[in-house]
Symmetry: C2
Subunit: 342 residues, 2 copies
DNA sequence: CGTTAGCACTCGATGGCGTTGAGTGCTAAC
DNA sequence: GTTAGCACTCAACGCCATCGAGTGCTAACG
């Protein structure tokens, strides 16, 4: 059996309705809806077909139909009509985004808030992978006897720091000098290529070998552990509790637990290079706790070589349409703001 | 009517029981409990008295009694027996705390996790007020034409940064030089006193007046807005949903909303100078959404002049005993770790 | 006089039961 | 191919009786 034009229209109407109400949709409801001029009985026949094809399901015999995962997939791939944001709305979002533009982290936090406010779902933003960022500046600052703070400034003014041990007897001026050397040699290297650059450096700097060795280790550790908790920012975690699918406290709790595990989130938000919006529906995402959620992600650019991810997590019956528009817009906006510092 | 020894004992037994079960406590339960050798009838009489005195309340006629806010106050002030953590437990907490000791923010995040894991409530840690920290180092790094990143390293290796505009034609070396001057002049100043130091500096540096002016403004703005969202770290926000008092989704939602508003939290965690553990029960704290929560806070030291706050938010029937022990221990542990970098 | 056993009373929680109504599938007529 | 009609299903709702934990009161007890 093939889907004809009418089946598409009916399926779309059902999904639209279910997205709004979260209640199983009956044949009468669809029949009444403008645009589909058929009686409930006809609709029922079609619904029965759609159920057999796996697009619809019935919670129980005498209830209406609920779209299946397969239906959502079809919906986002073919059926959905895209809506544009009003320019008024764009403006407000952009304005809010700029309100804390003095620091990169502030911008990202604002963006997460804008996303969750605009969609009423939960937003997640992941900073670009460290390995893809380029070093702008390295600075060692003494903080105590035999202890220094290493600060690495990268693309777009993203700052990373770590405490390292230094050999005895180095004063502020020594560290200053070493910082200059480090900066000179490492500037414009991607963090990922820093091992080689460092190796070269070590050859020529016998007396500070130990210090440089430690610095290298710290940077590498940072790279392989792939970012810390502050690289994943969540907004609107309370929003999901608005929806009836989370009126069960246990579901809500397991959802919130996932939001607290930044590692899981980072993995969940991983995506291939493309700038396109990507949609993962229900069982398509790996984490079992989120099997009745959908995750929509987009990318933003930082500098020339790095991209980060911004996304929305909501129930499978989310308003994909709006979420896509918002993410698309915010991805561009965020890229713009962050590449100002490029 | 005065509280005699027996009333104290009974009240304590009731509160202990209620903290464990969250169910109204009946006279039989207390009578059965070892240590109080009286019949249910006697207990009932006493309970009736305690109710009249405002320490107990009945949800409805044929239910047991529930402790009132006043009872908890009495409990934490006089009745509660303090328990010690096992040395095993201390060790595990300390170990976990050290696992990410390379960065200050990492340590604080770990601490928040340790707190929420050890208590099963929600933890909040607030970084020290910016104004009380001392400047260690100032560094300007070029990030684009006419744009620089100003990095301020303070006590204990806490790093703050902001993007600032700089006059045209300044290259990396110029900024380097200016950074040296700034660091020299501002080192060991408390951030709060920086205005005066800056004013002095401006007198002698005619040609870079505009740049320095902007830098000053940025620092001051940071000071008066009193910290950004990353200064307030929350752990275990999902924990509270374990408790029956939050099985109502609406309550849960409003609670989570408070956790998202970092400003409210910072205000909520404000406390006077003392290092003592402080307890605010139910209506004692200002935010109406948290009127059936208790907030227990302690301080940790950063360097010589600054303190931050760590705390636990839980239901009024929280296990005060344990929470206090954990906070007390973690306050010290956190101070130790952070003053290593002093 | 404080303590306690006994007892009637209260009231939320629980579970069975009939009713209601939204929705279905099937059939026959258009 | 479409639709009106109809019997059927089943969760949701409200009603009611039952149950039991807990109370307050009174009278008896040491």
């Amino acid at each position: 059996m093939q889907l004809d034009e009418r089946k598409y229209r009916i399926l779309q109407a059902i999904i639209d309705d279910y997205i709004m109400t979260a209640m199983p949709v009956g044949s009468r409801t669809i029949s009444r809806k403008s645009g589909v001029g058929f009686s409930p009985a006809t609709i029922r026949n079609e619904m029965s077909d759609l159920e057999e094809l796996g697009y619809l399901a019935q919670p129980h015999t005498s209830a209406g139909r609920v779209p299946s995962y397969k239906a959502y997939r079809l919906y986002v791939d073919h059926l959905m009509k895209t809506c544009k944001l009003t320019s008024d709305e764009r403006e407000r979002m952009h304005e809010h985004l700029m309100s804390r533009s003095k620091q990169v982290e502030g911008v990202i936090r604002s963006a997460a808030n804008v996303l969750s406010d605009a969609t009423k779902y939960t937003s997640v933003i992941v900073a670009p992978k460290l390995g893809t960022l380029r070093i702008k500046h390295v600075q060692l600052v003494p903080v105590a006897e035999r202890t220094a703070l290493m600060i690495i400034v990268t693309t777009a003014g993203i700052v990373k720091d770590a405490v390292i041990r230094v050999p005895e007897g180095l004063d502020a001026d020594d560290l200053y000098g070493i910082s200059r050397i480090l900066t000179q040699r490492l500037a414009d290297q991607p963090l990922a290529g820093v091992r080689q650059a460092f190796a070269d450096l070590l050859k020529n700097a016998e007396q500070n070998r130990k210090l440089l060795g430690e610095a290298l280790q710290v940077i590498e550790k940072r790279l392989e552990q792939g970012g810390d908790a502050s690289d994943v920012i969540v907004g609107g975690s309370a929003n999901l509790l608005e929806y009836p699918e989370y009126s069960d406290v246990n579901k809500a709790r397991s959802f919130l637990s996932v939001l607290e595990s930044k590692d899981t989130l980072r993995q969940l938000m991983g995506r291939e290079g493309s700038m396109e919006v990507s949609i993962r529906i229900g069982p398509e995402n790996q984490v079992p706790e989120l099997n009745d959620c959908s995750i929509v992600t987009a990318s933003y650019r930082v500098g020339d070589h790095s991209t980060g991810t911004l996304g929305i997590i909501g129930p499978t019956r989310m308003n994909y349409n709006r979420v896509i528009s918002v993410l698309d817009f915010m991805g561009r906006a965020l890229s713009d703001v962050l590449s100002e510092y490029k």
